[in-house]
Amino acid sequence: MVELSELENDALIEIFNIGVGQAAASMSALVSEEVRMSVPSISFISRADAARLLGSRLAAEAEAPDRICGVSQHYEGAFDTDAILMFPEDKSLELVRLMVGETVSLQELTDMEQEAMCEIGNIILNACIGTLANVFEQELRGSLPEYHVGTSDEILGVSGSEPDSVVLMLHIDFALDKHQILGYVAFVLDISALHDLKEQINRYIARAMGQA
């Protein structure tokens, strides 16, 4: 669907790893404990394929399939996108409880825990987009995070984007103590946003090569 050259792919992975590295540092400071995060891979897929992928992957890991927790923020500027951090519902319970240091877990995230989840999403998404904006030397503005629970298709469609939108999907490895949690960040892009993003990547690479 969207082909990235090896160079473009590596550049994006590097940028996102800088972003989540900063997010991990913020989160470590917040909980006075080391939080590690990395982005091992990225891919461009259609929104429909992304929903299917998330549905099957997350369902394979989760005990109760289908239900996904998402935190979304809308960004606009150099390119427009809905950024969504997603975990299977039980993993998001685990993540929030690890972060908050709470051991008495209820069936679902409470209101306060949902808000904590929103903050975690806010930190990660702002860091990812912020790093992109920084290397692109462009400005992006964001909305406040929103919390969602539902199927992957519902979560990816929260913005009302068309099913033929493209999704830039990041795998995020999150580690705290001896716990390892795998999540996803999806950037939903329409065709013109995708075009803008590719153009920014190429400009960045040209600048980086020129400096080398």
Partner: protein, 321 residues
């Protein structure tokens, strides 16, 4: 010259002062340009004092905090931030009333920091503060009730003290707390001496009674709510003592050993004393020896083994790692 004030400005002003949340606007140099009545009341800083003041001069303790970083994100990068109560508790010194202020009993807060575009001026930011104290209280109650319900499955069927599952959860929680706060965490492994011989000689019913009696007496010695005694295995008990260093833990272990002996439960095959006694292994996780849970349990186990080997009815200490 007379200026005609736009009446909608007066309305906005009144609304802003009527809302039940804190609203503060900072200009690009982080000076307060808007401070609503809610802030005046709960921060106990009047508007005339706040307006024009540097934000960090008003709240010096917030320098380098997440609030500080969020303001930076809004002013410099145009990104909004959400600061949840669960992860940030109560960053602002805001109080329900003067009495609460004297006790430093802060309102629980949910904070949002959003960039605000202003015509003909560099970007400002809006800080909104919601008092979520009621919701926090409600969830605390919910959690406590859940804990009570769950504790029924966390109790040992025979002795009524915590079971192994409860121990596993508690050691995990206390280990995390010790690591985050840099406090020592001690673990005692307690084993009834010659218990098999006691069972063989006095029968299993007597054996059960012995376990119940020892468990009740020893767990009754714990005074702090975070201390926990659990039945670890057959005749083995574990005691979690948070915020307790090796010297204090050893002292406690000695008191426990003496208490068990003082129960004077007759034991025909109980060694020299003729009564039921216990051996205890002590291990402490400290900042200097910041080991993981398995290593801590391993050290307490080794100490217990040594106490058995060195004649029983005694306390041994093992430094983990």
């Amino acid at each position: 010259m007379t200026t005609v004030r736009d009446p909608s400005l007066d309305l906005l002003h009144s609304v802003l002062n009527a809302v039940t949340l804190g609203a503060v606007v900072l200009d690009h140099d982080r000076r307060v340009v808007l401070w609503n009545d809610w802030m005046s009341e709960h921060a106990q800083i009047p508007q005339q004092q706040a307006l024009g003041a540097d934000f960090l001069a008003l709240f010096p303790a917030l320098r380098g905090s997440r609030v500080d970083a969020a303001i930076d994100q809004a002013l410099r990068h145009h990104f909004p931030s959400l600061l949840s109560q669960s992860l940030n508790k109560a960053p602002f010194p805001l109080y329900a009333n003067a009495a609460a202020a004297r006790l430093d009993d802060r309102l629980q807060q949910a904070v949002a920091v959003t960039p605000v575009d202003v015509a003909n001026a560099p970007r400002h930011c809006l800080i909104q503060i919601n008092d979520v104290s009621i919701a926090v209280g409600r969830e605390k109650l919910l959690r406590e009730q859940t804990l009570v319900l769950r504790s029924q499955t966390f109790a040992d069927g025979l002795t009524g003290i915590a079971n192994r599952r409860h121990f596993d959860v508690a050691i995990e929680r206390e280990h995390r707390r010790a690591r985050r706060h840099g406090t020592p965490l001690s673990l005692l492994m307690i084993d009834i001496d010659h218990f098999k011989a006691y069972n063989d000689h006095h029968g299993h019913q007597k054996g059960d009674q012995c376990l119940i009696q020892v468990a009740a007496a020893l767990s009754g010695m714990l005074r702090r709510s975070a201390d926990l005694m659990a039945r670890y295995g057959g005749e083995e008990f574990a005691m979690i003592l948070p915020d307790t260093d090796t010297a204090q833990a050893t002292q406690m272990a000695e008191a426990i050993r003496a208490r068990a002996e003082a129960l004077a439960i007759a034991h025909a095959h109980g060694g020299n004393s003729g009564v039921v006694t216990v051996s205890i292994g002590v291990a402490t996780r400290s900042v200097a020896s910041a080991v993981n849970i398995d290593t801590l349990i391993g050290a307490a186990d080794r100490a217990l083994y040594r106490a058995k080997k060195n004649g029983r009815n005694r306390v041994e200490v093992q430094t983990p790692g």
